[in-house]
């Protein structure tokens, strides 16, 4: 591969990293051409028309709009081309794929905490199987962090107060840097870790070695009862509240006439800010759990509700 010829250019390992590198090369070539032309003209004019050099200076190029229009149009066209290239690749990067595996990432000063669906958790490391699209659902417990894996040419801010999701996929097993790219306080530069991409079989073996006591969904179910959610949302409850069974992924009609998809973000918002989106036909009686549940607990609740998707209400 041509990239290997450049000693400091580490090859990317994601589905898109080759395209991003190609875009970078395109930008580099275009800039070098412009810069080369500019430096050539500057040097040529500076040498040829230096004071005292007897050279014909007659017949100067008349100032005409032809020149201005030409180089303005040329710049504009080149820029438009680069815009379209960068934008279409950008859209492609964020296009979700079917059959994703969801992994939760909680960022806090100054560590990355990763929760696998089976209940395995790890700190400052993220193990994933190769050739498998992974949907990272990320939340921050305090300030803004940014999840950055240079080898994947991917980065996404983790802003507190909301879920951010990002699809990643690695093509080659190995250990890669994970950095926090958004300044987050004292130990910002220590908020690093590694992405460990493994063959699927190795990943499965690694998961079983971790020996979790219970899955995230089970822990979420326990929390669901412990925090009193089941009192209203549970089967056979006396209070009229929307059932959680079969909810995830469906269209929910809201009291203001709009509908939303019951995804991770909707569930999270409904737990923290229950009055912002009221399901049609229900009274806004649910208390807010803002400040009462941590990000870790929140994601377990979400996973639990998600696990009820196949059940009948």
């Amino acid at each position: 591969m041509w990239r290997a010829w450049i000693p400091f250019w580490h090859e990317g390992v994601s589905r898109h990293s080759g395209d991003v590198d190609l875009l970078f090369t395109g930008l580099l070539l275009a800039s070098s051409l412009v810069l080369g032309l500019l430096f050539f003209l500057l040097a040529l004019f500076c040498i040829r028309y230096r004071a005292g050099n007897r050279v014909d200076r007659g017949g100067r190029v008349a100032k005409s709009w032809h020149w201005e229009v030409s180089w303005t149009a040329a710049s504009l066209l080149a820029f438009l081309g680069l815009f379209v290239w960068g934008a279409s690749l950008f859209l492609d990067i964020y296009r979700p794929h079917a059959d994703e595996l969801s992994i939760f990432v909680v960022a806090k000063q100054w560590m990355w905490k990763v929760q696998h669906p089976g209940g395995q958790s790890e700190i400052n490391a993220l193990h994933i199987p190769v050739h498998h699209p992974i949907r990272l659902i990320m939340a921050s417990q305090d300030v803004i962090h940014s999840f950055f894996i240079p080898a994947l040419r991917l980065k996404h801010d983790v802003v507190p107060g909301r879920y951010q999701d990002l699809e990643i996929e690695a093509d080659k097993p190995g250990h890669y840097h994970l950095f926090c790219a958004e300044y987050c306080g004292t130990e910002h530069s220590g908020m690093t870790g590694e992405l460990v991409a493994m063959e699927p079989a190795d990943y499965a073996a690694w998961l079983s070695q971790q020996g979790p006591s219970s899955s995230l969904a089970q822990e979420g179910g326990a929390l669901f009862r412990q925090l009193g959610c089941s009192g209203c949302h549970g089967l056979g409850s006396k209070v009229r509240a929307p059932p959680m069974e079969g909810l995830y992924g469906t269209q929910v009609a809201l009291s203001d006439g709009t509908t939303v998809v019951a995804d991770d973000k909707y569930l999270r918002d409904s737990i923290l800010l229950p009055r912002s989106q009221i399901a049609a036909g229900y009274q806004p009686v649910m208390p807010s759990f803002e400040g009462k549940v941590s990000e870790d607990q929140l994601l377990r609740l979400v996973v639990y509700i998600k696990s009820l998707a196949g059940h009948q209400p």
Binding site: V20, A51, E68, I93, V143, L154, V159, G185, H188, S189
Partner: protein, 535 residues
């Protein structure tokens, strides 16, 4: 210096501190900015020494974070933004348009006092223990989590902002109302078009910064939920507000530099600026479109994809007027009679460095690449090519060009050329390796870093030591010329602008008789003699 001039019009401290003469106020600004430049520079030096090795050795992480914050705050608000407008602009604008002073001389003095008050409050914040938020004050870190002197620092910048607004207002009114007879808009030197565009941004954008800073203080002190989601705020709201000021502020920091370069390129190639009207309107186009690109700082923040597409597009559009300027400067050289005095060396360095900064800006405007490059050293290198390679180089160029006019003395040409060349090499050695670091994925604001990045960091630190020496040189030879330099004539470069048609240093009231402008700027005869604008 037998005749009366503004320098020997009074020698008491009072005659300086209560002056309303734009030239003396410019000198007050010069002195203050040199002070702030070296404070910001000292922080940069400490940062580069620390980064010579991957581990933490010189300072603690808390100290490192305070150093880069101090470097950013001081350099942006107390050096770059006021640099050309408040020093060279203050001195030259009335001279260039044939006026006795700016439109509001007392407001001008007030502006300096506000600047110094803001500066002192910020220095207090630094001395009291510093600030660790970065110059960007991102919330909720700045409003809730930081244990440093955020409120004091924010207050200092808030106060200094009013100095910016007053200066911008003063320039706008002056350029509208005080032009000499015959000085029509299209006869204005391009330096004034640039400063006019800058002033428009100063007046329109700085209030947004003021509001944003007040909101930080309100949330931090009173716990009112504005930016922190824990108390129902929105962290992205802060970024929108902050960049709505701070991206136009980038143009506050570069437009005046572009203005200076027009003057230098024209004077030292003995030709009028190619495409005058296009260059003039390009400044205003940059000022206008510059207000519509702020979201390109937020491509990975979770803002909507549509917003990202629009901001990326606008960011490419704003690059067009800059490209127009670069092409026109190059065309100006064609068939000129080019002299390579020190100011011209700075101007040529500016074109090269600014173009590299501008082209790498396209990389960052390009959505898919920005996802990788944002918040890495690629960004750091990019904006230093614009701010330092562009603006500081233009500032030095303008300082050397107008030095004889300001001080009435000539400096050592050999030393000045040596410093210009040294700055160029030191700058590139410092910042070019940072592009590579960024492309490799080294995040910015990292106190400790992965060992594989060390080679490029060592090169960068080596460059920084060259640059530090190069920036100290002018302090010596310009300082020497102040006392021992040869006397300068009224027009040592044989330039056609009005500011050169009055003695050096200028008399207190600038012109003996009101100049009347009879021709366009930048006119030279067939044998490359200047044709003064008022002859």
């Amino acid at each position: 210096m037998n005749e009366d001039n503004y320098l020997n019009a009074g020698f008491t401290l009072r005659s300086w501190l209560l002056t309303t003469d734009h030239k003396r106020i410019a000198i007050l600004y010069f002195a203050s900015l040199i002070f702030f430049f070296f404070i910001g520079g000292a922080a940069a030096t400490a940062i580069r020494i620390e980064l010579a090795t991957p581990q933490a050795d010189l300072v603690s992480s808390d100290m490192y974070n305070r150093l880069f914050t101090m470097h950013g705050i001081v350099m942006v608000w107390f050096f770059l933004i006021p640099s050309v407008p408040n020093t060279l602009g203050n001195f030259i604008v009335p001279l260039m348009i044939g006026a006795r002073d700016l439109a509001f001389p007392r407001l001008n003095l007030l502006s300096w006092y506000l600047f110094m008050l803001g500066g002192c409050v910020t220095l207090f914040a630094i001395a009291a223990g510093g600030v660790d938020t970065g110059w960007t004050f991102y919330a909720p870190f700045s409003t809730l989590y930081s244990n440093s002197h955020v409120v004091a620092a924010v207050l200092g910048i808030f106060i200094a902002g009013f100095s910016s607004i007053l200066t911008g207002l003063n320039f706008i009114v002056t350029i509208h109302r005080l032009r000499a007879p015959g000085l029509t808009w299209y006869r204005l030197p391009l330096f004034l078009w640039s400063l006019y565009a800058t002033s428009v941004i100063l007046v329109l954008a700085t209030p947004i910064l003021a509001i944003t800073l007040v909101l930080i203080a309100v949330e931090r002190v009173f716990g009112v939920g504005i930016f922190d989601p824990k108390i129902s705020g929105d962290p992205l709201l802060f970024q929108h507000l902050f960049w709505f000021y701070s991206h136009p502020a980038v143009y506050i920091m570069i437009l005046p530099g572009m203005g200076v370069v027009n003057e230098l390129i024209s004077c030292f190639s003995r030709k009028e600026v190619f495409g005058y009207k296009f260059v003039a309107w390009a400044s205003l186009a940059i000022a206008a479109v510059g207000f519509l690109v702020w979201g390109h700082h937020m491509f990975v923040s979770g803002q909507s994809v549509v917003a990202s597409l629009v901001f990326s597009f606008m960011s490419f559009i704003v690059a067009v007027p800059s490209a127009i300027k670069v092409f026109n400067w190059t065309a100006t050289l064609h068939k000129g009679s080019i002299r390579f005095d020190a100011p011209m060396l700075y101007a040529l360095a500016f074109i090269g460095l600014f173009t590299i900064g501008g082209l790498t800006g396209l990389f960052l405007a390009c959505l898919a690449y920005d996802v990788h490059a944002t918040d890495t050293y690629f960004v750091v290198a990019h904006f230093h090519y614009i701010m330092v390679g562009g603006m500081v180089t233009a500032y030095f160029g303008g300082l050397h060009y107008w030095w004889p006019k300001i001080t009435g003395r000539l400096y050592s040409e050999a030393w000045a050329r040596a410093a210009a060349i040294l700055i160029f090499f030191g700058f590139n050695l410092t910042f070019f390796p940072q592009f590579i670091l960024g492309a490799e994925g080294m995040p910015r604001r990292y106190h400790v870093y992965a060992p594989e990045f060390q080679v490029w960091n060592v090169l960068s630190s080596a460059g920084a030591s060259v640059l530090a020496v190069a920036y100290l040189l002018p302090l010596f030879y310009l300082g020497y010329s102040l006392f021992f330099g040869a006397r300068a004539s009224a027009n040592p470069w044989d330039a056609p602008g009005l500011e050169w048609q009055t003695p050096s240093p200028p008399p207190e009231y600038n012109f003996e008789v009101q100049p009347v402008v009879t021709r366009a700027p930048y006119q030279y005869s067939k044998n490359f003699k200047a044709e003064p604008q008022n002859a």
